[in-house]
Symmetry: C2
């Protein structure tokens, strides 16, 4: 038995969707992107590459640049422009992470200390600004106004989404629709831009560009909703963030929105105390998880994620079947199924 | 006597350099820029225009957009592009103010409560990000890659300068040269970019563009050094910031750098205690000002500012004499003489 169990585990793991295909597809390009990222963080002020390296090299999955590389491939692009632009997108993402961690006062990110917990909030704000500016410098070097338009618009929407999230952070009356707008801003808009850029460099017709935008946007929504579910389901070691982070921060995410609406008045009083008033005591997180389970709120959050995943899947419909398309399809499945 | 004294005061005031000429020169354009600023702060998230209005409409002198408008005029430009770009520059400046106030934990700016003291640090960080992104969106609408190059490079250098300032904030061994680099980053680089943009829209030859860059950079250095002097000389009502803010923040500015080097070991010990260790008690600010006066540190800071002002003056040498040039020259004088 001691032999059979791990084998069975392995067999099951092999059948599960993974990022292996998309990672293999872009592996060579991603090496160049990583080298570019390290090179373009350089500054005469040593703290900048120090902090930037900590976060950029901090074991992120590079999903956004990977999407740019894979969508450029899907669109048949043969050149090199996707490399610099993928690095730009990772810089923008990193800048938002640095600022988010300041705003959220997070101590852990991807299982490591956050930059703000190591160096304080001040350099985190400023190094974020630097990376953001550097991203725009690199876009200017690339020289495409359409790319600049997509990424400056995405950046403005990201900031709007973050402010909106701040406003709804402790408000249980947040509707699912409002929450979806927050999710678009904080996650999906940059996924969409990353994919759209892949089509732009390949000089695809407007329809393909829109399809990539649609794929990225819906993949991003699915990604964030799965993340919301994972926050109440995972262990710290697995996801690199502490279980219940969102709960402790009083964040109103979809699982809570569902459980609050489906719950009794006594349950709602619990949510109001713990999330709106943020009066939390030992055992509250466990009780929250029990309520979420009682109302199938975590499962249904993943179910909602599947809906957006299905839209992303259809967005790829007009592209010919090839390795890039299969990898992008499997990425949707992985994004959702990782919640289990 | 009661009649003569105010008259004399008035006569002297009339002879002093002012911003009246440059303000009159750009008054019509600046109205349009202000309208554009208000219009482009709009967002579906109400807190964004609320905070942005607080700071953008907070009584700033609009010196940076004014420089763009005046230099475009100096370069003979007849079009409208300078309006949107002047608004961009004010947005970038405003974004850096929002982030600076978070980093410095300032409570007052231009005599009013800072955004971070009213709404907290979180929205200040995010609204700064929004304004910064919006600025890039507006540049993309303008459609000039050279303008985007100048302003993205300036933004990266501003962030670098701010990080460098953070590193030297409590270090009395900071040399005057190192400090000058900080000043360039935190102030002069955006002045330079604002002026260079005026030449770019006017499609001036490279030489004129460089001259505008040089004028702005040196005007900006003079402006910051005068500001450093004022911080130890002004009253809160006059400058809209509390006297001794830099001292309380432990900022090593040029007056202190000079007094520290010129002082006795006992005096240096005073500076180390108050600025490096930040152990400050009642009377310390007065003693600091007395030491600065003993070593002529404030006067000599203004003297240094005059040096950069002289370079800015010569940068205008090849332009024909006209109202714009006279206004830009008087701006240099005002920048420095306001320290008295």
């Amino acid at each position: 038995m001691a032999v059979i169990v791990p084998l069975e585990g392995e067999r099951r793991a092999a059948a599960r969707p993974s990022l292996d295909a998309i990672n293999a597809l872009v592996a060579e390009d991603l090496k160049e992107v990583n080298a570019l990222i390290m090179r373009r963080m350089e500054s005469s002020v040593p703290l900048i590459p120090q902090i930037a390296t900590h976060i950029v090299a901090g074991g992120g999955k590079r999903i956004r640049p990977t999407l740019t590389l894979a969508t450029a491939r899907l669109c048949g692009y043969q050149g090199k422009r996707q490399l610099g632009l993928a690095a730009c997108i990772e810089f923008i993402h990193t800048a938002t992470l640095l600022h988010d961690d300041v705003v959220d006062q997070s101590r852990l990110r991807r299982g490591r200390d956050t930059a703000n917990s190591l160096w304080g909030n001040k350099p985190s704000v400023l190094v974020g600004d630097f990376l953001f500016s550097r991203a725009f410098q690199m876009m200017v070097e690339d020289g495409s106004l359409p790319v600049l338009a997509v990424l400056s618009r995405a950046s403005a929407r990201i900031a709007e989404g973050e402010v909106q999230q701040l406003m709804t952070a402790n408000d249980l009356s947040t509707s699912e629709s409002t929450y979806l707008e927050v999710v678009k801003g904080k996650t999906a808009v940059l996924f969409a831009a990353a994919c759209q850029v892949g089509a732009i460099v390949a000089e695809q017709p407007r329809g393909a560009e829109e399809a990539m935008d649609c794929y990225g946007l819906n993949l991003g929504i699915a990604f964030q909703l799965a993340d919301d579910a994972i926050d109440y389901a995972s262990t710290s070691a697995k996801m690199g963030k502490a279980k219940g982070d969102d709960f402790r921060d009083g964040k109103i995410t979809l699982p809570v929105i569902l459980a609050y609406r489906r719950g009794s008045e006594i349950e709602r009083e619990f949510w109001r105390r713990t999330l709106e008033k943020q009066e939390q005591k030992d055992g509250d997180l466990d009780h929250a998880i029990a309520l979420l389970q009682r109302h199938r709120a975590i499962e249904d959050t993943v179910e909602r994620a599947r809906h957006y995943g299905a839209i992303a899947r259809d967005a790829l419909g007009l592209f010919p079947d090839n390795a890039a398309k299969r990898a992008l399809l499997e990425t949707i499945d992985f994004t959702i199924e990782r919640a289990y």
